[in-house]
């Protein structure tokens, strides 16, 4: 029943897409400056039906309707309601439907909200966006149909991977999809801009809100994913340079560069071609990331959905996208002359772009090189954190200096005498760095420079905040918050890296282990029965040897029944100055448990500063609205 409704809705949406393309194409030739009413209507219908099809799937998950293969494979009656709903997008087919939903919703919103812009440009955008929608709808119908039915209907489902049953992970994919799929709209807009000749400043204004929206969601999505990894995976880290994490960073670098260049295009009406390239690149990288993850070429914790037949489809789609966009770009490309003064804001924004391009290329090489090697020579290698850390970290130092100083320069040409202030701030940062050094056993030159540049950026941003309080220039605030967030993020990651304590040992119930700072006593163990899992919970007493404060932590080993899986739940005590992190795993055929104890200073501040970066973006969105 639900299967038929779902498939009918999806087919209906496809037909509407064809209709929209057809009508929009003929509307292009009409010289009237207003878009025909029926295009709006069709778009609205299309959006409604798409959203309905998604809710059909949600209902199937809520009701545990196992006549759908997708529900049967990814859900179970004993699962809590929240995870039944989250299960909708916790699998390949469902997430593809969510993907189509975002494409369609963005298409409609772009059409409605950009009424002040050129008609031809809007129609072309609509046409390209609908071509994308059709591409993904075909993929969905032919290869990954979430509404495929199964007969006879199974009594019970197979269950959702327990590692995915986590609140952070329930919202992580939708956030990322809004971020990544949201890029599609300015991919279409860029193509439309090339074809309609609607370029320059007005083009920048038409896409800027969309760029910011997708940037905010991408940033937030990546942070939430990282938080999930920290709390759920139980490795005590928050960034692993895992291929899929890298795949999500690539479009982020491109979009961050785009967001900055767009300001130059809007204010100075230059860099048009570069902005177009970034628009195209951001979405192409998003689709490429999806291809690499979903086809199973990349191996990582995320490959819950690898299947080469999907890969073939996405690859064909990706090729068409790249070649058509590149061909149109080259045909319409006009040479621009850039005339930038060295001491101007646009120069610094361009510098930001160069850094972003460097980070992007580095991560791209680290990610693709093993694939190349595998395909061309049959050799399998793994490019790990050492590569990324060595190549990326040193470049973060000058990057942070430019991030602080750049926005202080005016457009076109600036006579700003900021050198003295900069020197004083560097000196101050150096002094604080020495204080940090006193507490630590000593660290490398690189760490020193990282701390100094991070503190410099923080100081500089704090000064900016002081200026803001004086002059109340609201437009500056979001930028300051984001840049301050980045400075704090690097600073706290540095502190965390420098002062983390990690101990690994085996303990039996009743035993006590003394480390240099803590006494860890394994008091007892108990079994807890929960709705969909059984948990073995250890009771640990941790005594701080400095002040004799004791606290209890209970790491768990969970045995999920559907599907049968073991997961290790870390016990994490988060405090304002540090996190205590304890995981326990069973050692086979013995009474011993392997205990991993970590003290990680300022963990929560890493999350807070990362969230500040995206908060800046959200603030800018609301500010711009009030202004209008």
């Amino acid at each position: 029943m639900l299967s038929n409704i779902g498939i009918s809705l999806v087919v209906l949406v496809s037909i509407l897409s064809f209709l929209i393309i057809y009508i929009a194409y003929f509307d292009l030739k009409i010289s009237k400056q207003i878009i025909e009413k029926k295009i709006y209507k069709l778009s609205l219908f299309q959006t409604t039906f798409t959203v309905l099809s998604f809710f059909t799937l949600v209902i199937a998950f809520i009701n545990s309707d196992f006549s759908l293969i997708n529900v049967y494979e990814n859900s179970h009656t004993t699962k809590p309601l929240f995870y039944k709903i989250a299960g909708t997008w916790g699998n390949h087919e469902g997430s593809l439907l969510l993907w189509v939903n975002i494409l369609v919703i963005f298409s409609y919103l772009f059409l409605v909200f950009n009424h002040a812009h050129n008609k031809k440009f809007r129609l072309y955008t609509l046409i390209f966006q609908n071509i994308l929608i059709l591409g993904f709808l075909f993929f969905l119908l032919l290869n990954s149909n979430p509404f495929s039915s199964i007969y006879p209907v199974p009594i019970e489902g197979l269950g959702l991977n327990p590692i995915l049953q986590d609140p952070a992970l329930a919202i992580h994919p939708p956030l990322l999809y809004v971020g990544f799929v949201g890029c599609s709209i300015y991919f279409s807009a860029a193509m439309a801009s090339l074809l309609s000749g609607y370029s320059g400043k007005s083009f920048a204004q038409s896409i800027k809100t969309w760029v910011k929206v997708s940037w905010c969601f991408q940033t937030l999505g990546i942070i939430v994913g990282s938080i999930w990894a920290y709390y759920e995976l139980g490795w005590g880290g928050f960034w692993f340079w895992d291929p899929v994490e890298n795949a999500s960073l690539l479009p982020w670098f491109a979009i961050t560069a785009l967001m900055h260049s767009l300001i130059v295009l809007e204010k100075r009406n230059t860099l048009y071609s570069w902005v177009i390239i970034l628009c195209l690149l951001t979405f192409i990288l998003s689709v490429m990331g999806t291809f690499l993850v979903r086809s199973g070429i990349l191996n990582s914790v995320h490959t819950f959905a690898s299947d080469p037949s999907r890969g073939v489809y996405i690859l064909i789609f990706l090729s068409l996208m790249i070649f058509s966009s590149l061909t149109i770009f080259f045909i319409k490309y006009k040479k621009e002359t850039y005339n930038f003064n060295l001491k101007s804001r646009e120069t610094f924004i361009l510098a930001n772009n160069w850094f972003m391009a460097f980070f992007l290329v580095t991560v791209l090489i680290g990610m693709l090189y093993p694939i190349f090697l595998d395909v061309l020579t049959g050799i399998k290698i793994s490019v790990g954190p050492p590569f990324f850390n060595i190549v990326i970290i040193p470049l973060v130092i000058p990057f942070m200096f430019l991030m602080a100083v750049g926005p202080k320069f005016g457009w076109i040409k600036s006579k700003n005498k900021i050198l003295n202030k900069v020197l004083i701030l560097i000196l101050g940062a150096g002094i604080i760095n020495i204080f940090i050094l006193l507490f630590s056993d000593g660290y490398s030159l690189l760490s020193n420079l990282i701390f100094i540049s991070a503190i410099f950026l923080i100081f500089h941003s704090l000064l900016d905040i002081k200026n803001f309080i004086n002059n109340r220039n609201k437009l500056e605030l979001p930028r300051i918050i984001s840049h301050l967030g980045f400075g704090l993020l690097v600073f706290f990651i540095g502190i965390n890296y420098q002062f983390s304590i990690e101990e690994d040992f085996n303990l039996k119930v009743g035993e006590i282990k003394k480390t240099s700072t803590y006494e860890i006593s394994f008091e007892d163990i108990r079994i807890k029965e929960s709705k969909n899992y059984k948990a073995v919970i250890g009771n640990f007493k941790l005594t701080n040897l400095k002040n004799n404060l004791a606290q209890y932590l209970g790491p768990e080993i969970r045995i999920y029944s559907n599907p049968e899986t073991l997961t290790y739940e870390a016990a994490i005590r988060t405090k304002i100055h540090s996190d205590l992190y304890l995981t326990m795993s069973n050692v086979s055929r013995s009474d011993y448990y392997n205990i991993k104890f970590q003290k990680k200073p300022f963990m929560i501040w890493i999350w807070i500063s990362a969230l500040m970066i995206s908060l800046g973006g959200f603030m800018q969105l609301t500010l711009k609205k009030n202004e209008n």
């Binding site: 061909t327 694939i371 790990g384 990690e502 991993k596």
Partner: protein, 174 residues
């Protein structure tokens, strides 16, 4: 569209990339490593990861009926997936000794890695700059070499050991 050198370069690069992706989809995990099989391990010396004074050389390996030399690192994700097969091998078979060669890693991380996942190695040798691994003809990690008591390579596994490779090893040493 005017055809220029830059455009040709960009197009060919993209075509290359897409072809690699295409081939990547079809790649299977059977490698042709026949040329390495049958060659003999020549003289080497390896210090223990936690104790520089303790070391092994090819003479020690002659005492074992079979030796599996496994190249690993704590930062290498596929090493985690193959680890359980190494542990199984250690538990189920008395004929085989496993030597781990730790590739470009930190002592602290290696010990954590082994504490976390269990230690299947009879000896863990260190190779901080990766030079010893190169002598063995290692391109990347994980890789493993199975040798007999005459130091002849009877199997080479590139990439993580999986179920099929594991069964192969068991068959070879019976």
């Amino acid at each position: 569209m005017k055809i220029s050198f830059v455009k040709i370069i960009i197009f060919s690069f993209i075509v290359f990339l897409l072809v690699v992706f295409w081939r990547g989809l079809k790649i299977d995990n059977n490698y042709n490593t026949k040329s390495l099989i049958g060659s003999r391990i020549s003289n080497f010396q390896l210090s223990e990861i936690n104790d520089d004074d303790q070391y092994i050389s090819e003479e020690d390996l002659k005492k074992n009926k079979y030796t599996l030399i496994n190249f690993f690192a704590s930062w290498c994700a596929p090493c985690r997936t193959e680890h359980k097969y190494l542990l199984n091998l250690l538990n189920k078979n008395k004929e085989i000794k496993i030597i781990g060669i730790n590739f470009k890693d930190k002592k602290f991380n290696v010990n954590n890695f082994l504490n976390e996942l269990g230690n299947p190695y009879n000896f863990v040798g260190k190779d901080i700059d990766g030079k010893i691994s190169i002598l063995f003809g290692i391109y990347g990690i994980p890789e493993s070499i199975l040798i007999n008591n005459e130091l002849t390579v009877i199997k080479k596994i590139i990439g993580p050991i999986d179920e099929i490779q594991y069964d192969d090893i068991i068959k070879l040493i019976q």
